[in-house]
Assembly symmetry: C2
Amino acid sequence: MSKADRTREFIIEKTAPIFNVKGYAGTSISDLTEATGLTKGSIYGNFENKDEVALAAFDCNYKKISSYLKAEMDKHSSYKEKLLVHASFYENFFKAPFPDGGCPILNTAIEADDTHPQLRERASEAISSWKNKIMELIKKGIDNKEFRPDVPLEQTAISLIALIEGGIMVAKLTGKLNYRKLIMQSVEKAINDLT
Amino acid sequence: MSKADRTREFIIEKTAPIFNVKGYAGTSISDLTEATGLTKGSIYGNFENKDEVALAAFDCNYKKISSYLKAEMDKHSSYKEKLLVHASFYENFFKAPFPDGGCPILNTAIEADDTHPQLRERASEAISSWKNKIMELIKKGIDNKEFRPDVPLEQTAISLIALIEGGIMVAKLTGKLNYRKLIMQSVEKAINDLT
DNA sequence: TATAAAAAATACCAATCGGTATATTTTTGC
DNA sequence: GCAAAAATATACCGATTGGTATTTTTTATA
């Protein structure tokens, strides 16, 4: 790993939470130099422009949550338990190892959908692959006789994602622990209803 | 209505959709002068600063959706039908009279929750009063024997909001009509399950 | 319709924006 | 350990940012 590669990683690691908290438009190059202790010349020596840092930052934040999900799912053997990881996923969303600022998919989707096609595409692909993963789990759960055979695959998957993401918004906005708890119970109920 | 009041209304009306599309940080004063055809002096003659325009813009956008919801609910007599307005609310969200840029509560929540306490408070209050409204409808529906007496009030209300808001994000991000349809069916199902 | 008051336009401000050319320092391979 | 190359820092750029002081125009009233 060359010096440049290490610096690049360092910059991404330090600035990813900033983009997630302040957004693309709200994050300035001087935010990046402050967070890294590097100078503008160094940032621009390793990245073509602000866009490239922002895209790399999204990938970094996204990887944190998707690899957490995958690792937690791998701990369980039943498909119901794998799906139920989404409840603990949601419950723990505001603690480490999750990035500061909430869900990067949600944050990026809201800011970029009308303003930044590249970031929008990243978020859109994230939703799509998340949906496919859930559908796959349900399908395998049906084959395994864990779930009812008539569970609507796509509807269940996309609605579960909507419930979780909307729940993250509500919980983070209001700061009410009770809201988080209640929505988490709804996530659990939605999954239990598949059996 | 004085000239100043009319100009103030004019500025709010013209700039509210811009704030909803570009966000607070992404909207500049020159965006406001372009949209209104007025000059900077005129904007600052009617508003103290950018914050004050943004807050008025949020109120304007929020009023559009809340008055739509209220008007539609008033058309129905049963509490179930009143609740089901949320499905058509969601279905029609990307057409007039809804403001450009998606749900202003969601947009403001995501951008402002870590960065702008005043806007955050506005969004938080909007969620809170929406939740109370839904709880009130369910309660009356229970008293009216439309709904089961054991429906969990707060959980149902806050989870319905989460599902709708998450659904708006997913539908707007991906542009997939099918996702919108599927999530809308989940909203309907959640309400039908109360009976 | 003349006039005072209010509103809008003009012209300006320092600070910051994203970005670059160049100089200096630090790695790297021999 | 020495050069060449790569990486970082410095110094700078024009454009734009949010905001203000002042002048001109428009509105309301007597």
